[in-house]
């Protein structure tokens, strides 16, 4: 018996406890948490980056909330809302809250540093061309912020994907189910299988984000080689001094 046997067993790939179903649930919880976190963090980050104010307060409190122990907070929330929330939501709400708390800080940091570090030459040029402040934000600063923003989302995804295993603690599905059930049943191959699947999923998402980056980020921003300061050739049609 080994982990490979667990993977090779066809009954582990089908049914409500099968690997595809659990992966689907895992991605679902991750996706919901990331969407909510992005909806909170990106506007907040834009405001902080644009106005330049409140960076320490906002970033500091986001990071402090993240230091709350995930499992402890999960159980506390469950015990608190259990008398008032009916049905399945009582397991889902604490899980999503806990994952959102983890996901917000990287996206927030990525957004406001991205906006703040938008190339000032580009901003200046836009202002010179007569763009309004909102147009500058939307057409220049946000696209320039995209690499850092995407890297923030990427870092956040990685954390949420590996922590979403905690959903299984409250009886929900997801790849954590293999880890927790495997431990309880003494089936360590199941545990190892679950862990390997989480790592594989994280790896796949990393690759997906790299591809997304090449698609979405403007080529000018992607130029990572040293900027070659080639001398600008004189404008075509300029009359040479000697000929005047």
């Amino acid at each position: 018996m080994s982990v490979l046997d667990w993977f090779a067993n066809p009954s582990n790939w089908s049914g409500t406890d099968g690997i595809p179903t659990q992966m689907g649930f895992h991605l679902l919880y991750t996706g919901i948490a990331l969407v909510i976190a992005a909806a909170i963090a990106i506007p907040l980050g834009v405001v902080v980056g644009y106005t330049g104010k409140g960076e320490r307060l906002v970033a500091g409190s986001a990071n402090a909330l993240r230091a709350l122990p995930t499992l402890g907070l999960l159980i506390l929330l469950f015990l608190l809302i259990s008398p008032v929330v009916p049905g399945q939501m009582v397991y889902v709400i604490p899980t999503i809250v806990v994952l959102v708390l983890l996901a917000v800080p990287p996206i927030l940091a990525g957004t406001y540093t991205g906006i703040q570090s938008a190339d000032p030459d580009a901003v200046g040029a836009a202002r010179g061309m007569g763009y309004t402040k909102m147009q500058i934000l939307w057409h220049v600063q946000l696209p320039c912020a995209l690499p850092l923003l995407l890297s923030g989302i990427r870092s956040s995804t990685l954390q949420v994907i590996s922590t979403a295993t905690v959903a299984a603690y409250l009886g929900l599905q997801g790849l954590g189910r293999y880890i927790i059930d495997g431990r309880a049943q003494g089936d360590f191959f199941q545990m190892a299988g679950g862990a390997i699947l989480v790592a594989a999923l994280a790896f796949a998402l990393e690759i997906a984000f790299t591809l997304l980056g090449t698609l979405v980020i403007s080529p000018g921003l992607r130029r990572t080689s040293r900027r070659q300061r080639t001398p600008v050739p004189p404008a075509v049609g300029a009359i040479p001094r000697s000929a005047r």
Partner: protein, 308 residues
């Protein structure tokens, strides 16, 4: 310029020292992952283990304090996990002694067993125990897994026994520990003996706060609760009668590695087993639920029972 170089050298030196200190603290001390088998088999130290729920730790604490008072060297290794995990630890020598529940242990070792009374369980268990492991006297104190429902659920479906669940099973969710999914004393047995396939099985904890809260708040309609849980009466829950005797008699019994057994240990543990009653367990569980330390509860019980 020389001050800059000195400062650089100082910071490099400081960083190296800090890194080295971290590495050394990691190497020093006990390796947390190493099996305690080698350390435990030195002479007389008895390593006491327990499962991952309060009552098991409580009884293990009682054993631990009593044996220490009797002059035996003990080492505590509590909160290991479910039976599937700690039985492996017992057999490989990582732990030597732990409190067990006779019927549950029997059903784990021999899934075909049909014994249900205390005496039958003892007879079969003595044979079923693996080589090198022995059991001492059973205690009259019992703590069984029971299926509990709220008073409202019991009234709604007219439930008094587990069999009464069968016509309504498609509407009911069962809550229990993850190990129940594969256990005879769990989902597997409920299906074989009672023909019960619930709407869903929600993995929570072994008769702990998660299951209790889910049950009382209505997230699950049927929950695995321990019969000595003071929350049964406190939350007005109904314990369904096990009319087909799926869950056998669960007397507390010390299970110990045979090579570690000696007269002192045997006498002390048997005295504890004889003095322990189900009411004691309920009372102690109640105290533990209010936050009193297990050590003080154990000492109090030992003093009242007159042991050491």
């Amino acid at each position: 310029m020389s001050t800059t170089i000195t400062r650089r050298r100082l910071s490099i030196a400081f960083a190296t020292t800090a890194a080295a200190a971290l590495v050394l603290t990691g190497c020093a001390g006990q390796d947390a992952l190493s099996s305690d088998g080698a350390a435990g088999s030195d002479g007389d130290t008895v390593i006491i283990g327990s499962a991952d729920f309060t009552e098991s730790q409580l009884i293990a604490t009682i054993y631990s304090h009593a044996l220490e008072n009797a002059g035996i060297e003990v080492k505590e290794q509590f909160n290991i996990g479910s039976r599937e995990v700690y039985m492996a630890a017992l057999q490989d020598g990582s732990i030597d002694l732990l409190p067990e529940y006779s019927g549950a242990l029997l059903k784990y070792l021999d899934t075909e067993s049909k014994a249900s009374t205390s005496e039958d369980v003892v007879t079969e268990l003595t044979d079923a125990l693996p080589d090198g492991v022995s059991m001492l006297d059973i205690s009259p104190a019992e703590d069984k897994d029971i299926l509990a429902v709220t008073q409202e659920t019991a009234d709604k479906y007219s439930l008094t026994t587990i069999s009464d669940l069968e016509p309504h099973m498609a509407e009911l969710s069962l809550g229990g520990p993850p190990e129940w999914k594969t256990r005879v004393n769990g989902v597997v047995g409920l299906e074989e003996v009672y023909g019960l396939t619930f709407k869903e099985f929600v993995s929570l904890d072994a008769g702990g706060p998660l299951t209790m809260t889910a049950l009382t708040s209505g997230q699950v309609q049927v929950g695995d609760i321990f019969s000595t849980d003071p929350g049964l009466t406190a939350n007005n829950l109904v314990a369904l009668e096990d009319d087909k005797s799926l869950f056998a008699a669960e007397n507390i019994v010390p299970v110990i590695t045979t090579s570690k057994l000696d007269d002192t240990i045997e006498t002390t543990l048997n005295a504890i087993s004889a003095a322990l009653t189900t009411e004691d367990l309920i009372a102690m569980n109640g105290e533990a639920a209010t936050g009193t330390s297990l050590g003080s509860i154990a000492d109090e019980w030992l003093a009242d029972a007159g042991i050491n």
